[in-house]
Structure formats: C-alpha cells, structure tokens
Symmetry: C2
Subunit: 455 residues, 2 copies
C-alpha cells in the first residue's frame, strides 16, 4: 500500500484522533490548565509510540510545559534528519466569548471542524503525525525524523529556546520544518520565505517641570506634545519613505526576478487591504508594491502616542511631557544595533533646544530572516504543495516575525514553513475551525515533502 | 477720624474677623459642606448689616450656594454706583494633603496667616468689607456700593451668571471691580487689563477599521498616529507662529506705547519662566516678548494627544485611530467661530487621502477681553495701589480667562481687577496663606480706590 492509500483508508480514524486531541483544553497561558497541557503531551507521546517513534517529554526549566519530542532514526546514519516543529498548546476560549459551539467540544459542520486549536495549531500536529505514521506503516520513512511539539508557544516559548541553546545535539537536523501559520487561501498554497526583524523603543519629550496652565504660558513655551509631533513628522519623508539618514544603507536590494514574483499574483493582498484599510488609498514607499512594502522593505512605525490630558472634557494644560512608542521592522541585511543608533541619533539631531528628548526601553529585537527559495527544504515544500493542491504555490515575504524560526535557524538554515490552515480560520478568535479538506491535503503535503526531501 | 486712621485702630479686630471667616470651611465643590457655605454667607450678611449695608442672600436656581449682596445707596442718586465682586467659597483641603497646619484652623506665623481660602479669596472679601466699613464709619462713602460675594466660584458660578442675565437691574452699576487673583509679587502691585479668550476642540484621525499588526501591514498603511503628528506639525510654522491661514487676520495690533509698556519691567515673568521652563530656551512667535506672547498674541496649543498602545511593554499595533485635544487662546478682535472655522478648514485641507479626520467636541468658549487702561476704574485702581504700596503698578495682559469678567462686562466695561494676594500664596494648593501686610495694604487700596473713583 502507498502511504497515500493508507491515509485514504485511515482518514476517518485520523479525523477522530484529531477531535480527541482538540477536546483537551491545552491552554498554556493559564496555570489552571497545566494538567490539561500535560494530558495533551501524554496523548501525543502515546500516539508517537504507537506509530513507531521514540517519545520524550522535555520540560526546561522544570515546571514549564513540556516539549514532546518523537525520534525515529530508522533511515540510518547516512540519511538526512528532518526536524518538524509544531505546537500543541492553545489560546484560552470560552463559549461566553461568542462561540457558536463549546470550544473544547469539537463540532463537525459540513467540511469544518470547530474547536479552539483546530487551526492554531493542532491541524499541523495531526497532519505531520499522520504523515509519519503513513510512511512508517508502509515501508518506512526515507529520512530520520524528529517531531518537536512545543507546549508553550502561546505563552513565551522558553523551553524550546533553552533546548536549542543548551542541547543542540538533541535538536541536530539537516532540515527544519516549521509547521504553523496559514496559507493565503484554502485553494491557494503559499510559502513564507522571508520574515522581517524588529527593534522597539520609546521616545520621551520633556519640557516644563510640571504641566503648565496653557492660558498663562501658551505661546511662550514649546509644547512637548507639539514638539513630539514635529519630531515624528520628520521621521518620514513626504513620499512615505523613512527619513532617518542611512536607514536604507544596508538594505539588501531585491533582484528583478524576486520583484517580479512578488508583484505577480497579489490579489490576496489587495483584497485584504481593501477590507482593512479605510480609505483604501495606498500609502508607502514609492516604487514598491504592497507585498514589497510589507515584506521586503523596512519601516518605522508609531505604535502608540500619549501626552497631556486625554480624558473626558477639557483641561487646558500645556503638558510637561509626551511620549511615543516606536518600532522599526527590519529586512536583510539591516543590523538592529545600527538602526537603533541611526534612529536615536537622528532624533537627537531633530530635537530643538526648547525641549529635551530621551530614548528609553530599547529592545534590540532580532534581525530579519530570509530563506533561500532555492534551498532544498523550500523546493521540496513547493513541490509537495503542488502535488497536494494541484496548483503552484505563491512565495510570500511576510512582514511579521515567527520567533521559533530564529531558534531553528541555529540548527539549520535549510528550512521551510509548512502551513495547512487558512487566514479565515479564527486563530486567537472565536469560532476557530479547520477545513477537513485542508487536513487531508496537509497530510499529503507532509508525506510528499518527506519523500521529496530525501532525494 | 480718617478712614485710614480707623483701619489703623481696628486692624487687630479686622484680622480676628478674617480668621473667624477663614475657620468656616465654605467648600462649594463638596455637597457635604453646603451647610458651612451657608454659615459663611450668614456670617457675611451679619457683618454687612453691622457696618451699615443692606444684606440679601440670593440663590438662583434654588439650592445653589447663595450670592451675598450688600447694598448701600447713601451717596444718593447722583453719585456713582460701584459693584465690588469677591468670592467667599474655597477649594477643598485636608491636613493629609501635606499641610503643616490644619487648613481650617487659621494659624498666624510671622506675617503669614495660614488657612484654606486665605489667599483665594477671603483676603479680598475682608479687605473690601473693611474698606466700606471704614468709609461708612467715618463720614460715609462717596459712591453707592454693591458688594457681591459669590459662593460658588470654585464650582461653576451659575448663580452669578443667572443674576446678571435675569436681573440686570439688581446688578446695575457704573463701575465694576473684580477683587480676586494676585498681583505679581508682594512688593509689586499690578493690574490685569487684558484676558485672552479661548476655543477648544478634538481632532480625530481615523485609519484602518481596527488596530492592525504593524508587522503584517507596516509600510503599506498610513499610520493614524503618524498622520496626526504630521498634521499637528503643520499647524505651526518653524518659527513658532501659528500656520493656520488667516489666523492672525483680525488680531488687533499693539500700539507702540503698549508694546513698550509690556516689554518694560518683565523681570517677574523672566524669573517665573526660568523656574518652570526647562531648558529655559525661549520659544514663540518671533519679534514678541514673553509678556506679549502670553498676553497679547493668540496661540494654538496641543493639550493632549493619544493613540495606539501606550501601556507598559510593547504591542506592535498599527493603531486605527489617534486623537489630539486642541485649544486656541484668542486676543481682541478674533472671533471664536471664525477661528474654529479656519482651524478646522485648514486641518481638512492638511488631511491626506490616506486617512480621515474629524473635529469633535467643539467649544466656542469666549472671545478675549481687553479693558481700556484709560478707563476711570483702572486709573483709580492704579492710583490707589500706588498710594498703598508706594510704588507704580505694572500693567499686565494675562493669558488665561477670568470667567466672571465676561459676566460683569455686561454691566459695565468701566471695570478693574483688584488683587491683594500674591502668586506664592498657595491658591488651590497646600499651605495656602496670606501676608498680613498685604491685607492691610489691600484695605488701604480699596478705600483709596472708592475715594478716587468718586471724583
Ligand atoms: Zn497562536
Ligand atoms: Zn480659586
């Protein structure tokens, strides 16, 4: 029997297993559910043993939610080792939040299965487990396997970082797969190959010793809220580009083929943009598409701003202080330290003698991550998606961060993100659900990936 | 005996009366003290009757704290009538706030009397009452008198406005005196002859439907906090002047003599500026002194600003909304409606197509008030101060508002502000106190004023 025939024969049972896992409220953010997180970990370890993997529960430091690791080295020392990362913990959920069904009573309606964790991220746990099961039950797997299921992705992820740092030998692999997140649409597979980095800081503007009466002093004292606005306004050029001198110096240019690929096939972005952004008037660095602006170009963003009296009614204060939270999204090859130096230097230079500025709460964050589209993992992933979906993938550079990628990058940069959920699946929201056909296609993708990567 | 000899003979008794009045906690902002406000009103009415005035308690609408009005028309129908306004209610106070003495146990230390209300504003009540007493006890007063003591200045002042509007005949006077506030320094008498007007509004900038993830969308969506800063930055020119087109069109120009007077003798301002403003680097409309900028030039001020996440830590949101509270201080002959129209029109014009702006919570406030320095009230006040203090007054245009002035202006524009407190007296703060020599000089000023104004 082929692994795919095996899945066809066993899919109903796999779906029932999936529901069993979904019924365990493995909420990692609430200590009251620690027992359930552990119950889910033991359920996974038992399943791993059943299909032929050697399971371990690893909690580092003691008392954290365990990583469940399942190892199989039957492909032999000359075969590649593939590490597949998923997470089995979930966000909190309660029917009072507005769910139509009990979040921990998995409910199948049409081709949907509703439950907390259905899309984020137990669909990935189940698809990869089932792919390994199908291979091991039908002549073995062509690569050695390390399934690494994290139990605290939603609550900090300390254990996995400690594992990578302190026990790199246990995590050693030739190829890493992060199976989490979502593809662009149920019928449109996609692969994220770039993630932006980030640095954050607070900008404080101090003026008079205390809030002044704006009647008594207005007109003769530089208002810190105004001065803050004047500085912020100078952080961007009129065309939307960042005005910090040298900000773009180290940015790795996009080559023509990548630009072309990023500009093709972006209906998904345009559609989402039109829904979220009002008015849907495009804004951003000139000469770049939305996909390039969000995925391949760095930004400087005001995440929060405050100063003076902002409650109900009016107090005519001339505030002594105003503050903005600022973050920069970074792209290859920008260096977080260098960017912080340039931004804070420019702000110091923009600060007029009439107020004082301070930069505090610096967080050097992380640099950007860009995986080679030509890497064997990404190429195998693309082929596998095309087999399962019957459609070529869209390559995506995403604007946010996937923290685990920065850990796993230390193990192997031959890495791919494999997602089997879709953006409408309600992750972190109410009525979270997975599409049954995506679970099926996900398993086929994972099987095909493991076969392709072995070659 | 002259009225001044009478004061010299009676000053100790007057000081004791003053302490008796200070011991009544006439806190108008807290209903728990309504009985004490009424007790103070009755104390004042009794004192008025004792010295020969006809007292009335007027509460409009019923249930508000009464105005205590004391009338004397013994100067005859051909003499002028002078209305003297003071307020006898006080701010709350508790020793727990950090007072060194019980706030309602008047305590004399050296030449200070500590008590809530000592400076704001029972010193004025006592000085004017005693001046009238001294005149009536020594040959009569050369003008008819209406003493109008308000009991809710600290809590809205409804009654006095209703009185002026609904019973103008009871308030009729040739000259109005507002006895409240403070002079520049204990040894430096001053007369405020100008007050700025005010309009207030909120500016809202709306962008995406909801807060977005700044990683996913940053760089492709105009950030409302940034857009707000960009708009605010354009409300002033680089030199500190207001950039709203037409903002200065109607501003009445200062004539050379007034400019010269305003520029002379401004050590008091420079000193306070140096204490409050840090760094003490001057800012404001070019070509004007601090006194002119705060008293005679209009402003546009950011009183508060908010948007996005401003709590502890960092949330990398791209906020959907940001807001600023804006006020303009007005000078003669700016029209509040016209200024609101110009500011909101300019903001609409500055708003880029990538966000939406809204102006809400418009308050048309009030126009500026400028009393003629040549008016008989101000001239008599200047002469009276010089007699009592032995020093010429400084004429001041103040930046804030004195709401009662806008009511009394309807009765007579021949008006003066007479203050016997000083700025360091702790009004609205802890350890409020009056200087005994200022109470004495205040009485002499009030006597001399009433004599001078009759001529
Ligand atoms: Zn999640
Ligand atoms: Zn007051």
């Amino acid at each position: 029997m082929t692994p795919i025939d095996y899945i066809n024969d066993n899919f109903d049972r796999i779906k029932e297993d999936y529901k069993e896992l979904l019924a365990i409220p493995s909420i990692s953010t609430d200590p009251a559910y620690a027992h359930d997180v552990l119950r889910a970990a033991n359920w996974l370890a038992a399943k791993m043993r059943e299909i032929g993997l050697m399971p371990e529960l690893i909690a580092m430091p003691e008392g954290r939610h365990p990583v469940v690791m399942g190892t199989w080295d039957g492909a032999g020392p000359d075969a590649k080792t593939v590490l597949i990362y998923c997470h089995y913990d979930v966000q909190p959920a309660s029917i009072e939040d507005g769910w139509h069904t009990e979040p921990f009573t998995p409910t199948e309606v049409g081709d949907r299965i509703y439950a907390r964790g259905a899309t984020d991220s137990k669909i990935h746990v189940m698809a990869n487990l089932s792919a390994v099961e199908a291979l091991l039950a039908n002549g073995g797997c062509p690569v050695n396997i390390k399934l690494v299921f994290e139990g605290e992705e939603e609550s900090g992820g300390e254990t996995i970082s400690a594992l990578v740092d302190q026990h790199p030998e246990r995590m050693r692999a030739d190829i890493c797969v992060i199976s989490d997140g979502s593809i662009l649409a149920p019928e449109q597979p996609s692969i994220i190959y770039g993630l932006r980095g980030i640095v954050t800081m607070e900008l404080h503007i101090d003026g008079p010793q205390a809030d002044l009466h704006s009647g008594h002093w207005g007109g003769a004292v530089h208002n810190p809220a105004q001065a803050l606005a004047e500085i912020i306004a100078k952080l961007h050029n009129d065309d939307g580009s960042v005005a910090v001198p040298g900000f773009y110096d180290d940015v790795r240019a996009l080559d023509d083929s990548e630009r072309e690929a990023m500009r093709a096939n972006t209906d998904w972005l345009a559609e989402e943009y039109g829904t979220l952004v009002n008015p849907p008037t495009e804004w951003g660095e000139p000469g770049y598409s939305i996909h390039e602006r969000t995925g391949a170009r760095p930004t400087l963003e005001i995440n929060g701003i405050s100063g003076g009296y902002t409650g109900a009614g009016f107090k005519t204060v001339l505030p002594s202080h105003a503050m903005a939270k600022i973050s920069c999204r970074l792209v290859p090859d920008q260096d977080p330290e260098d960017i912080i130096r340039k931004v804070s230097g420019y702000i110091a230079q923009l600060t007029p003698p009439t107020v004082r500025s301070r930069i505090t709460d610096l967080d050097y964050g992380r640099p950007a991550l860009l995986l080679a589209r030509e890497g064997s993992a990404i190429q195998a992933a693309a082929a596998a998606y095309e087999t399962a979906w019957g459609k070529p993938v869209i390559f995506e550079r995403a604007g946010g961060s996937v923290p685990i990628a920065y850990d796993l990058e230390k193990i192997s940069q031959d890495m791919a993100l494999l997602s089997f959920s879709y953006k409408g699946g309600g992750a972190h929201s109410i009525n979270e659900h997975a599409l049954v056909p995506m679970l099926y296609k996900g398993i086929i993708t994972a099987i095909t990936f493991l076969q392709a990567i072995a070659e």
